[in-house]
Amino acid sequence: MSTPTCGAQQPGTLPSPFTWWPFAVIPVAGAGLAYVWANGIPIINGIVGASGTVAGFSVLTAGAAGAVAVCVLVFYYAFQADGCIIAAQKGDPICVSGIVEDTTDENSTVVDVLAPFAMGPAGAFDLVVKSMYWNFITKNSFWVFCDSVGASMLPCVIKSETACGGKIGSVVGATVGAVGGVILSYIAAAALGGAIGCAASGPFYLLCLLVVLIVAAIVAAAVAYAGAVIGGAIGEGIAAAANANNPVVNTWEGLTAGDIVTVKGNWVTDPNLGNNELLYTTSISRTGNVGFPPPYTTAQADATPADDCPVAPPAPQ
């Protein structure tokens, strides 16, 4: 097989599917808000004492709009096909071997704390594979990653069970927070409306109403978001305690550039960039270190000892 070309592999651009979900969410949310505007929210009506088809329910509707927006955001990230709530992209199980070029810790403290529902994988490492495994890098791919000396690399992604816990916790927290947020937003808006005297007549009546509605929406959204953050933090804590001895994560954390490894995982093509990768890595077997710093070449990878992959890779196509 000829040496893989670095960068773009195929003419044209990566096929990008139409993003349909906002156009599905908007009508559903619109119908829901229309219902709230006409009828209120059954149990919450009683709790906050909202009545009437207009003034009381309008504030509830504004609060519901803010809460729904946060729920859509949280659910969008939590229900990605990343192997947490929705199964990850199904690929083929493969085994490859080579030299670790670099490792990347993809944890972000800011995201962990402020948006636990959006946490990504634990990290990844780039593997300069032996030439016999080039097929796994180029087949059906739109992009090939290479190091600075042109050796093609296969990204190997490490799953974060902590992130999965955070996502599940965020979904629960956002749902609970949305309900609490609508209640609190109604109370806050009623207090604000009374304080600034929206009932009074005047040319600023419309602006006054708008301020009350904006406050209702923002309070509900803020409480729902706080629920998601708190729920996510709890979920992260539980998941971290339950998965403290994950062998793949522990081995990955100990990897350094130059390590000679045999890796197994789910082989897929990344839908965003078009590169082939392991999503996720299911096994890492470290057998040594080449003893000098990167970058590494394919020839150096080929010179490493025989790996323990059970079968030869398929013939190039």
Binding site: I26, A34, V54, G202, P203, L209, L210, N272
Partner: protein, 135 residues
């Protein structure tokens, strides 16, 4: 930067402007409240305020979650918010059902956001800001 960002910002701005402006109409048209027929300018201004609040919150979350550069995202949000609020605000005020106003505002906002990017970037948005490509 993906063109998806443009219409998504427009959709968010339009949806919120639609809901809240429609709700203000519902509240002024009842209960014996005194009616001051709002001018187009007042409705447009109110629409812009709502759209800018929604779109800046959305932009802040986008910067946090996608690691896109903050300045161009907020600049784009400013353009999208002003145009969407200006046009959707007065329109949504006259739609009496907030659910319908939300749907109409969202669709109109998405179209406006897409058009703004076509006009500002000529439809040739760079891929250099796509996270990961530059690695």
């Amino acid at each position: 930067m993906s063109i998806k960002l443009c219409w998504l910002l427009g959709l968010i701005a339009g949806a919120f402007t639609g809901v809240l402006m429609s709700l203000t109409h519902a509240s002024t048209a009842c209960c014996g409240a005194p009616v001051f027929p709002p001018t187009f300018g007042r409705l447009a201004l109110d629409g812009i305020v709502v759209a800018l609040i929604a779109v800046f919150i959305a932009a802040a979350l986008m910067v946090l979650l996608t690691h896109l550069p903050a300045k161009p995202v907020f600049l784009l949000a400013l353009f999208v918010g002003i145009v969407t609020g200006l046009l959707v605000g007065p329109l949504a005020y006259h739609i009496h059902n907030p659910g319908v106003a939300m749907i109409v505002g969202a669709i109109l906002g998405a179209i406006l956001g897409w058009l703004i990017c076509r006009l500002l970037c000529g439809g040739k948005l760079s891929s250099t800001f796509i996270p990961g490509v530059a690695r």
